[in-house]
C-alpha cells in the first residue's frame, strides 16, 4: 500500500466519519437524556425515520430546511411523549414499548412519506471548511453540515446542564434512585416523560440530517439502523454526553472504512467492515458488563443494567 493510498483512505474515513456521525450523535444524546432519567427508549429508530420524512416534507412544502429540522424535532417529541406516557402506566415494559414505537413511527413515516419520495426539497447547505487546501478529496471531506456543530454544542450544553443545573441534578436523581427523588418531592414520572420527549426531539433532528444533508433525500431505505444503535452507543459512551461525540465519530469512522477502502479499489471485506461498529459494541458490552466502573456510572433505575 502506497502513501497516497493511505492518505486517500484516511481522508475518506475522516469525511465519512464526520458525515455519518451526525445522526449517531443526535440519537446518542437523545438516548442519554432519556436513560439518565432511568428509562430506556428502544424506539428512536422510529423517531429518526419519522424525523427524516417530516423534515423533508416540510422543507419541500415551505422551502425552508431549518423549519424542517424544527418540525422533525417536534415529531420526535410526539413519539417520545407517547412512549413516556405509556411507560408511566404500571406493569408496562419500556423495552417492548420501544420496539412498538419503532414499528409505529416507521409505519407513520412511510404512510405519509409516499408523496415525498420523488420531489426534490431544499437541503441544508454544508459549510465549505476545506477552502484552504488544494487537495480536492480533503476539500470535499471538510464540507461539513452545520448540524454537526449543533450536535457538538448540544453535547457540551447537555453535559454542563447535567453537572451544574437544577434540572440536570433532578434528572440524574430520578435515574439513580426513585425513592430519593420522591423523598425530595420530585415526581419521577413527570421527569421521565419530559426526558423521553426531549430525547425524542434530538432523535428527530438526527433524522432531519439524514434526509436534508447526507444521504440527502427521503426514501424508505434511508436509515440503516442508526436509531437502533443509539442504545449501544450510549452504553459505549457510558452515559456521558461528551463521550457521545467520540462514540458517534468512532462509529461513523468504522462505518466509513468499507467505502474508504472501496475508493482505492479494495472491495473485499466491504461488508465485513459494515459490521464493524456492531461487533465493536458487542465487545464493549462484554468487557464492561458487571464491571465496577460501569455500575458506578449507569443510572441505577435503568432496566438494562439491573
Amino acid at each position: 500500500m502506497t502513501v497516497e493510498m493511505l492518505t486517500t483512505i484516511l481522508i475518506a474515513m475522516l469525511g465519512g466519519a464526520i458525515r455519518v456521525s451526525t445522526p449517531f450523535m443526535f440519537v446518542a444524546l437523545g438516548e442519554t437524556i432519556t436513560e439518565k432519567s432511568g428509562r430506556i427508549n428502544l424506539g428512536l429508530e422510529g423517531n429518526l425515520v419519522l424525523g427524516a420524512m417530516v423534515a423533508y416534507g416540510v422543507s419541500y412544502e415551505t422551502g425552508n430546511p431549518w423549519l424542517g429540522v424544527l418540525c422533525a424535532g417536534l415529531s420526535g417529541v410526539f413519539l417520545g411523549l407517547i412512549h413516556g406516557l405509556i411507560c408511566s402506566l404500571p406493569r408496562v415494559n419500556d423495552i417492548a414499548v420501544g420496539i412498538a414505537m419503532m414499528t409505529f413511527g416507521i409505519g407513520v413515516a412511510f404512510f405519509f412519506g409516499k408523496p415525498y419520495i420523488q420531489p426534490s426539497a431544499p437541503r441544508l447547505e454544508s459549510l465549505p471548511l476545506g477552502g484552504w487546501s488544494d487537495n480536492s478529496a480533503l476539500r470535499s471531506a471538510l464540507e461539513i453540515n452545520p448540524l454537526f456543530f449543533v450536535g457538538i454544542i448540544a453535547a457540551v450544553a447537555i453535559w454542563w446542564m447535567l453537572a451544574n443545573t437544577r434540572p440536570g441534578v433532578i434528572l440524574r436523581m430520578v435515574g439513580d434512585s426513585e425513592p430519593s427523588a420522591r423523598a425530595m418531592g420530585v415526581n419521577p414520572i413527570r421527569v421521565r416523560i419530559l426526558a423521553t420527549a426531549a430525547g425524542g426531539f434530538m432523535a428527530g433532528v438526527g433524522g432531519a440530517f439524514l434526509s436534508l444533508s447526507y444521504p440527502g433525500s427521503w426514501n424508505e431505505g434511508l436509515s440503516s439502523g442508526q436509531g437502533l444503535m443509539a442504545v449501544a452507543l450510549v452504553i459505549f459512551a457510558r452515559w456521558n454526553p461528551l463521550r457521545c461525540i467520540l462514540a458517534a465519530l468512532l462509529f461513523g469512522a468504522a462505518g466509513a472504512i468499507g467505502p474508504a477502502l472501496q475508493s482505492v479499489g479494495i472491495s473485499q471485506g466491504y461488508y465485513f467492515f459494515n459490521a464493524a461498529p456492531y461487533i465493536l459494541t458487542l465487545f464493549i458490552m462484554i468487557a464492561s458488563a458487571r464491571s465496577g466502573a460501569r455500575a458506578a456510572v449507569a443510572p441505577g433505575e435503568l432496566s438494562i443494567v439491573k
Binding site: I86, I99, M101, G107, G225, A232, Y271, L282, I286, A289
Partner: protein, 365 residues
C-alpha cells in the same frame, strides 16, 4: 417479559382458573378492538371509510380459498418467529434477534446446499442437512446472546439486536463475495438450489410445508413449556430468577436451551424462506418477519398455541395489504401503521393485568 401470572400454583376452584384464563384472552382482544377503533378514527380523518377497510381485510385475508392460502403462506414464518420470541420470554428473556437468526439460518441452508446440489446428493438427505444447518445456525446466534446473558450479565435485548446486524452483514459478505452466483447480476444471491431440491406445497393447497412445521412446533413447544418439568422450571425462573437459583434450578442450562429453541425456530423459518420461496439466499430474507414475530408473541401472551391464530391474523393483514392499496388508494404502509398501533395499544393494555376485579374474583387475594 416475565409472565409470572402463568402458573396456576395451588389454584383450587376451577372458576378461578377459568377467569384467570379469560383475562389472558379478554385483555388482548380488548386491545385489538381499541386499536381497530383508533385506526377507524385515523381513517375517518383521512376521509376513508373504515368499514370498507375492515371488509377488505376480511376479503383479502379470509373470504376465498385463494385469500386463505395467501394468509396461511404469510402466517407460516410468523408462527416460527413468534415462537422464537415466546419461548425465551417465558424464562424472562427479551430476545429480539429472530430476524438475524432467520437470515443466518436461511443463508446457512442455501450455502450448504450449493456443494450438495452440485454433487447431485439425494434430495431427502440434502433437505435434512439444510434444515439441520439452518436450525443450528439460528440457534448458535441466540445461544451466544443467552450465554453472554448468563455468564457475563450482558443484556440480551441489546446483544440480540447487535447480533442481528452482524448476521445480516455476514450474509451480505458471503453473498456478495465468495458465494455469489455469477448469474445474479442485479441482486447478489447464492447459487439457486434448483426446483428438485425445493420444498413442495402441502397437498391440495398452495401453502408450503413451513406452515405444517410451525403448527407441529407450536404444539410441541406448548407441551414442553406447560406440561413438563423443564417448562415448569423455565417458568419459575422467568418469574423469579433469584428464587430459581436458590431452589437449585440449573438456570444457565435453562437459559441456553430456551435461547437455542428460539434461534432454531427462526432458523427454520429462514430455511423455508430459502427452500420454499426464494430458492436462494439474498437480501429478500431481511423482510421483517423477525420483528413482526415479537408482536405476534406479545399478542399471544407468549403462549405457543396462541401464537398460531395470532400469526394467522397478521398473515391476513399482510395478505390484504395489496387489495387495500388498490381499492382504497392508501399507501402500502397502511398495514404497518395498523400493526404499530395494535402493538402500542396492546402493551399499554398490559397495565390492566390483575386489575380488573371480575378476573380476580374468587382468587382469594
Amino acid at each position: 417479559m416475565a409472565d409470572i401470572t402463568t402458573g396456576s400454583f395451588g389454584g383450587g376452584a376451577s372458576t378461578v382458573r377459568l377467569r384467570a384464563a379469560l383475562e389472558k384472552i379478554a385483555i388482548p382482544v380488548g386491545a385489538l378492538i381499541v386499536s381497530a377503533l383508533l385506526f377507524s378514527v385515523f381513517l375517518l380523518a383521512l376521509g376513508k371509510n373504515p368499514l370498507t377497510f375492515y371488509a377488505l381485510i376480511w376479503q383479502g385475508g379470509f373470504a376465498s380459498s385463494f385469500s386463505i392460502q395467501n394468509t396461511l403462506q404469510r402466517a407460516a414464518p410468523l408462527i416460527l418467529t413468534g415462537l422464537a420470541f415466546a419461548v425465551p420470554a417465558t424464562i424472562g428473556l427479551t430476545m429480539i434477534g429472530a430476524e438475524g437468526a432467520l437470515v443466518l439460518g436461511g443463508f446457512a441452508a442455501a450455502a450448504i446446499a450449493v456443494p450438495l446440489v452440485g454433487a447431485e446428493a439425494p434430495v431427502a438427505l440434502t433437505m435434512l442437512i439444510m434444515v439441520a444447518f439452518a436450525m443450528a445456525a439460528g440457534a448458535m446466534l441466540t445461544m451466544i446472546a443467552g450465554w453472554l446473558r448468563h455468564a457475563r450479565g450482558v443484556n440480551e435485548t441489546i446483544s440480540t439486536l447487535l447480533l442481528t446486524y452482524i448476521a445480516i452483514a455476514t450474509m451480505n459478505f458471503f453473498v456478495e463475495g465468495m458465494l455469489r452466483d455469477p448469474n445474479s447480476a442485479n441482486k447478489p444471491s447464492t447459487v439457486p438450489i434448483g426446483d428438485a431440491y425445493k420444498v413442495g406445497t402441502i397437498p391440495g393447497t398452495d401453502v408450503h410445508w413451513g406452515l405444517a412445521a410451525g403448527l407441529v412446533l407450536a404444539v410441541l413447544l406448548y407441551f414442553l413449556m406447560y406440561r413438563t418439568t423443564f417448562g415448569f422450571a423455565a417458568r419459575v425462573t422467568g418469574g423469579n430468577p433469584r428464587a430459581a437459583l436458590a431452589q437449585g434450578l440449573p438456570v444457565g442450562k435453562l437459559i441456553l436451551t430456551c435461547a437455542a429453541i428460539s434461534g432454531a425456530c427462526a432458523g427454520l423459518a429462514g430455511y423455508y424462506e430459502v427452500a420454499a420461496i426464494h430458492g436462494q439466499a439474498n437480501a429478500s430474507l431481511v423482510a421483517g418477519y423477525g420483528f413482526t414475530g415479537i408482536l405476534v408473541a406479545f399478542l399471544a401472551r407468549q403462549n405457543p398455541l396462541a401464537v398460531v391464530p395470532v400469526a394467522i391474523l397478521f398473515g391476513a393483514l399482510d395478505a390484504s395489504g395489496g387489495l387495500i392499496q388498490r381499492r382504497m388508494d392508501l399507501p402500502d404502509a397502511t398495514i404497518q401503521v395498523l400493526q404499530g398501533l395494535i402493538f402500542v395499544v396492546l402493551l399499554a393494555s398490559e397495565t390492566l393485568t390483575g386489575r380488573i376485579r371480575f378476573f380476580q374474583a374468587g382468587a382469594g387475594k
